[in-house]
């Protein structure tokens, strides 16, 4: 065991953590605005992977051009999903919305399996690597981090600098007051849901540039998103980004000491510990 290997693995995990963070931001944004837990989060991450894959392999686009298109597709998908599946139960108890999004999850997995089978796919992207001793930074990973930072900054600019973003925060804060201010709250909810799924799809698209995947691959990242969201505090996008980076780093460090198969165990131990000790997350989102 040497320090350099630890550093190498830690850096690797940290970089991946940015992508986890983007996925988790999507989950927490939706929860924060409308108290809906999107159980189709994982399958939408997988759709993001396939979106980049198909745009690249079928239409011959550059994968990094496919990603912004995937952002828009993710937005559109989420808005349609909101109106078809979520809007009709938006004022129902949480179990009902949970079932509605779970149904969408099963539909995506079912249709996706028919359309794409579960044979692993992989993108052919190679941006080279930076090496220094045992430390290797893949170009694709560095670009993924960069895109994740841009996406997170974009989300912040949207939420805090634009009228529609402020309206999203107003609706999250007090929906009926927002409605009597003249804000079309249903439209804002649909847009927020779309933003959440756009973040999930973007994370998926970035993951597709790093690993092989199938239509089922979203599940792992959905579970990580849940851990991160709890880590960062439910409904807190900053917490989700920081939580994602933290989880990535921990994963990187732990896999030096223990087999990769144990990672989920560690993650769930963290999950349970946070729920027991800091139920509002490490960064204590207001409740």
């Amino acid at each position: 065991m040497n320090l350099e290997a630890l550093l190498a693995s830690g850096i690797d995990g940290l970089m991946l953590g940015f992508v986890y963070g983007i996925a988790a931001m999507g989950l927490t944004l939706i929860f924060g605005v409308m108290r809906v837990i999107n159980l189709a989060h994982g399958p939408i991450i997988a759709l993001g992977m396939f979106s980049v894959y198909l745009l690249t392999n079928q239409l011959g686009l550059n994968p990094y051009l496919a990603i912004p298109i995937t952002v828009l597709l993710g937005l559109a998908f989420g808005m349609v999903m909101y109106f078809v599946a979520v809007n009709r139960v938006i004022n129902e108890p949480e179990l009902t919305t949970l079932l509605a999004t779970f149904a969408v999850s099963l539909i995506i997995i079912g249709l996706g399996t028919v359309a794409f089978t579960t044979t692993p796919r992989a993108l052919d992207v190679n941006l080279g690597a930076l090496r220094s001793g045992q430390i290797t930074v893949l170009g694709t990973k560095a670009v993924a981090v960069l895109i994740a930072i841009l996406v997170a900054a974009g989300l912040y600019a949207l939420l805090y600098r634009t009228r529609v973003g402020k309206s999203i925060r107003a609706v999250a804060n007090n929906r009926s007051a927002a409605e009597i201010m003249g804000i079309n709250t249903r439209g804002i909810l649909a847009f927020s849901f779309g933003l959440g799924t756009a973040l999930a799809a973007t994370a998926g698209g970035l993951i597709a540039t790093l690993f092989a995947f199938t239509i089922l691959s979203g599940g792992t990242f959905e579970l990580k998103s849940f851990v991160i969201v709890v880590l960062g505090g439910l409904g807190n996008p900053t917490g989700a980004l920081v939580g994602g980076i933290l989880l990535g780093l921990l994963e990187g460090v732990f896999t030096i000491f223990i087999p990769v198969g144990w990672v989920p165990v560690i993650e769930y131990v963290i999950f349970v510990l946070i729920l027991l000790v800091r139920p509002n997350g490490l960064f204590g989102a207001r409740t």
Binding site: R163, K166, S167, R169, A170, A172, N173, N174, S176, A177, A178, E179, I180, M181, G182, I183, N184, T185, R286
Partner: protein
Amino acid sequence: MSTLLEIENVQSGYGEVQILWGVTLKMEQGRLTCLVGANGAGKTTLLRTVMGLLPAKQGAVRFDGQNVTKTSPHERARAGMAMVPEGRQLFTDLSVLENLEMGATPNHARAAMKQNLEWTFELFPRLKERTNQIAGTLSGGEQQMLAIARGLMAQPRVLMFDEPSLGLSPLFTLNLFQIIRKLKERGLTMLLVEQNVQMALAISDYAYVMNHGKIEIEGEARKVRELESVRKAYLGA
């Protein structure tokens, strides 16, 4: 004088529980109308129905000649109806300025936001000192000021207040009534739902007294104030 807002034989309630049993009320352009009555008389239910937060089971709400009974609250807000709801209902996680910006959501208000912000701050100088403060951290009185200021930012044609003096100190209450008087001088059409019956009747032009989901008495405020039944029931005389 023309009628700006007309509530005609409205019945409404929550689920199976009917609260309003046929309420008819008219608001004339540029006048201050007050609606008083005991707790549980249905005043808040009526305002919620007028704003569209509750559906009317029967009857109609007409604003500026248009039947708005079936429209959503945000459409009514965009048409020029605004409400300062009971319990303030601020965006407590947003800053003072952001709350005011959200108030200015209707298109006409968005275009005139700068001027409206200016005179709103003139009316509430304390809010100007606190533009970047998070609304939830303001004192109760300041929060009520912000709720009213936010309503004004909509540049409404009619502004409805639901129990604005609730929970305010006597000094703030006095301040509140002075502000309502100033708005009246500017010609704003207002509906005031108040538990402080004495003060409400003193500054209003026209008054409605509600009881058990119906309008019991209506008339010029100064005449209503003199009625024996009103004095006994609400003014402690």
